[in-house]
């Protein structure tokens, strides 16, 4: 049981006495999390378990906000935090009855056995190479209480993998470690092993075919970050170039394939799906790009309160000590009708990119940089020789306008760890393959 006793009505009453002015936004955030980690065989210390619990109270009033967080969940600590955000000593606060439940069981067997499963899967490809595998299991239970609403407890449970190899690092997210997961990871690792000594492609402009896993990273960097309300300058950090840049997408139909991109936390893979965000607001099936044009932006309560058009429901945070920010949870690119043959022929003479291992968006300029650890040349309608690491660089509007084909092979997967504003969160996506007709490719990593 996550919460043995959680007197939400009393918490809401106490919060309401703090959020006393018209237009105030306030919430109390309770968090319990467990991270269990099976380290590589060479590690200096074994099985690692981290159990955390704590709370945060937040008040937003106009252009100001106050957050107070504690590493305990008790009525006394809650009142202390509420008094801190109120910057006063409200006389009538009564201590709510709060107690956490018993600790949750950890799936040690899955953590322990995955290394052997992965090794067997790699051997089935008739190769062997050194690697250091770290397997982690994460569980986060969140209860938000507002002054007038109490959503149900939200839970995210998933695994993450990290593999260090002499030729680079690989990371993946998964909602379970079923048999197919070892094979999926093995395929990626073997691909990188085969490309370990391959030369990077020549720098230049080429068509590229992104596999679903690579599309997920592209969507996260080029669409989700680009359409987060805080980065778009609605609050501050306004940048005219960037506004013009995004405006270019929203004001003209793209000449390429008209994309449909949504953010819908409810449709995230089972185990990490959400019905409310970390501010307790109901999530929204949000059309970010509809038929090639920007439709909505990703917004939290604070940005929504300051805008006539933004909808709340995408306020997520890395943990209790950090404020919620507008963030994606699960992106979805609606599939197209292109089959593999058509995709490959659309990218003929270019590169096939099975994965992107990281990316970044410069919010000041709108330039997105995506790093591919390896790839394959596309010749005669199919992937051929491997190539070494390279970067893809483009401005967001140009990049989205260059998509000329979208596959029908949509797959749900983890898009990776997002570290926006230093807050680390797992993010998810359901995406098919896409072909970008023309993008700048740089050999190696600049």
């Amino acid at each position: 049981m996550t919460w043995a006793r959680l007197e939400t009505a009393a918490v809401a009453r106490a919060l309401a006495s703090v959020a006393a002015e018209a237009g105030d936004l306030a919430e109390v955030y309770f968090e319990r999390r467990i991270d269990a980690e099976w380290p590589p065989a060479e590690a200096r210390c074994g099985l690692r378990v981290r159990r955390e619990e704590g709370l945060a109270a937040r008040l937003v009033r106009g252009e100001r906000s106050w957050l107070a967080s504690r590493d305990r969940i008790t009525g006394a600590h809650l009142l202390e935090a509420l008094r801190q955000v109120a910057r006063a000593q409200p006389a009538t606060l009564l201590e709510p009855d709060i107690a956490v439940g018993t600790p949750t069981a950890i799936p040690f067997a899955a953590l322990r056995s995955f290394a052997a499963e992965l090794e067997r899967a790699i051997r089935r490809h008739h190769v062997a190479f050194p690697l250091q595998l770290t397997v982690r299991w994460h569980r986060r239970d969140v209860q938000v209480v507002g002054p007038r609403w109490v959503p149900s407890t939200e839970r995210e449970v998933f695994f993450s993998l990290e593999v260090d190899m002499p030729w680079g690092r690989f990371g993946a997210l998964a909602t379970d470690l079923a048999a197919g997961e070892a094979e999926r990871v093995a395929r990626s690792l073997v691909g990188r092993f085969m490309a370990r000594e391959a030369e990077p492609p020549h720098s230049g402009r080429f068509p590229v075919l992104l596999a679903p896993a690579a599309t997920a990273v592209l969507l996260h960097e080029a669409v989700a970050h680009a359409l987060e309300a805080d980065l778009m300058g609605e609050i501050g950090g306004m940048d005219d170039d960037w506004r013009r840049s995004i405006g270019a997408v929203s004001s003209s139909a793209s000449p390429g394939f008209p994309l449909d991109v949504l953010d819908d936390p409810r449709r995230a893979p089972r185990g990490v799906d959400r019905t409310t965000d970390d501010e307790g607001q109901a999530v929204v099936r949000r059309w970010l790009i509809r038929a090639g044009k920007v439709d909505q932006v990703i917004s939290d309560s604070m940005c929504a309160a300051r805008s006539a058009t933004h909808l709340a429901g995408s306020g997520f945070r890395g943990g209790r000590h950090q404020p919620p920010l507008p963030r994606t949870h699960h992106l979805e690119l609606l599939p197209g009708d292109a089959d593999p043959r058509r995709l490959q022929s659309a990218a003929e003479g270019g590169l096939y990119v099975p994965e992107l291992d990281r990316g970044r968006l410069d919010p000041a300029t709108g330039e997105v940089v995506l790093h591919a650890p390896c790839g394959r040349y596309l010749l005669h309608g199919e992937p051929g020789d491997a190539c070494g690491p390279f970067e893809l660089r483009a401005f967001v509007p140009d990049l989205l306008a260059s998509v000329v084909a979208v596959g029908k092979d949509a797959q749900a997967a983890g898009a990776g760890w997002c570290a926006k504003a230093g807050q680390r969160r797992a993010v998810w996506a359901t995406a098919p393959s896409v072909v970008i007709a023309d993008i700048a490719v740089f050999a190696g990593t600049r």
Binding site: A43, R44, C45, G54, W66, A68, R112, M238, H321
Partner: protein, 441 residues
């Protein structure tokens, strides 16, 4: 802070539960953070000054408390970390087949440790943070009328730690630090600052404003073509510190490549010191309770050793250099205050000695390093020096070269040692260097 009764009781009980070796680490801390974002720039020419009403301000106060136990023997071990206080009755899970290695206590001559006398003074408050932001903007506008503070992030925190182990290590220490990040703009030009001090009040708004104004002015487009800076460049301390940060992997860890670099400039001595006087991360002990102290990595251009932790030196006593970022983290080897030993030469003398060349003030982006060739590239702001005087801005330029050329090409050092934050604190004084190139961006 001493170890809690719960930690003492658990440590005493762990051998009875089949864990002959164990270590318990406890930490509690508090912090305050202020994030200000400018809403709108006043219309050029109005002379209006952005006051507190024109900024959004987000405050966060955190109180953190947690602990961790490492337990096991040479065949099996586990790590358990949790919020709250150490629990004597903690139910531990089965350990995994990984060995546990814990350090022995170290004794020996140590410099006496003196804690900052006003360690317990109050953390920065809203008034203090707002005043700092306003003072920086006000001072900038005295020289650049339309300069504005676009964003500011100011945080101060303090923490107390205690550690005890079955091997007899017992240590307690306290730390306090403040960090400031600023983003400023003047028309099309903008720059960022990131710094850390032991106390919030150590940030001097006038000095910060002057430094930012210098950088903004240096970014003004150059009338003549850039790229003719001459064979010698003078690198100001903040940029030199960023370059030392880029060099750090060459001197840290058993796989470091410092020894393979050969002879370096005889002008340089590189030191890492966990108890550097008035250093932001200075503490009497490292994250495993071992006494910290100075380690010379390069002495007058000769490679001495890499920075290694005790488990990498076959238990030869070395000053502690294990970083423990929080109670959630296991200790890892990391530099604390890695810096180039300054000389007694003033910066003005260095400028004069350069004659003609470039005076580079600060990094205007990350230092990008190709780890295989050691080639680096960083956008910089700077001034052109003619006849020993800074005469014109260089505009948008970058400094290029390789790290070996940097370390062999240092001709003179100043006395103005400054540190920048990164994965540790990295410091250097102003440097006169040959063998690097300043090119248009």
């Amino acid at each position: 802070m001493n170890s809690s009764p719960g930690a003492e009781a658990l440590l005493a009980d762990l051998p009875n539960r089949g864990f002959p070796e164990a270590e318990i680490y406890e930490k509690r801390g508090r912090s305050r953070r202020f994030v200000a974002t400018s809403k709108e720039s006043p219309a050029p020419g109005t002379g209006a000054e952005a006051g507190p009403e024109s900024r959004s301000l987000a405050q966060a106060s955190a109180s953190e408390e947690g602990w961790a136990v490492r337990a096991g023997d040479r065949r099996r071990s586990l790590f358990h970390a949790a919020t709250g206080s150490a629990e004597a009755a903690l139910q531990l899970v089965d350990p995994s087949p990984h060995p546990l290695l814990l350090p022995d206590p170290q004794t020996g001559p140590l410099d006496p440790w003196r804690e900052t006398p006003d360690f317990d003074s109050a953390l920065v408050n809203e008034t203090g943070a707002s005043q700092l932001f306003q003072a920086i903007e006000r001072e900038m506008r005295k020289e650049l009328r339309n300069a504005r503070l676009v964003a500011a992030d100011f945080e101060e925190g303090s923490a107390e730690s205690a550690l005890l182990s079955t091997r007899g290590v017992r240590a307690a220490w306290r730390t306090r630090a403040a960090a400031l990040r600023l983003e400023v703009r003047d028309g099309d030009r903008g720059c960022r600052f990131e710094g850390a001090e032991s106390m919030a009040r150590d940030f001097d708004p006038l000095a910060l404003a002057r430094r930012l104004v210098d950088r903004l002015c240096a970014l003004e487009p150059r009338r003549a073509a850039a790229g003719s800076s001459g064979p010698v460049v003078l690198i100001a301390a903040p940029l030199a510190a960023r370059l030392i940060q880029a060099c750090a992997p060459l001197f840290v860890g058993p796989a470091s490549r410092g020894a393979a670099l050969g002879a370096l400039s005889p002008a340089i001595t590189l030191i890492d010191d966990g108890r550097f006087a008035s250093g932001v991360l200075a503490a009497p002990f490292d994250g495993e309770g071992l006494p910290s102290g100075p380690v010379t990595l390069v002495e007058t251009g000769r490679f001495v050793r890499s920075l290694l932790a005790w488990w990498e030196t076959e238990r030869i006593p070395v000053p502690g250099c294990a970083r423990r970022a929080s109670w959630r983290d296991l200790p890892r080897r990391a530099p604390t205050h890695l810096y180039l030993l300054p000389s007694q030469t003033g910066v003005a003398e260095l400028v004069e000695s350069v004659g003609a060349g470039a005076y580079l003030l600060d990094a205007e982006g990350p230092v990008r390093v190709d780890r295989s060739t050691l080639a680096f590239d960083v956008a910089v702001s700077g001034l052109e020096i003619v006849a020993g005087r800074a005469v014109a801005p260089l505009g948008a330029v970058r400094l290029c070269g390789d790290l070996k050329a940097l370390l062999t090409g240092i001709r003179q050092l100043g006395r103005d040692l400054q540190f920048v934050p990164g994965d540790g604190m990295f410091g250097a004084p102003s440097l006169v260097v040959e063998g690097l190139r300043v090119l248009p961006l």
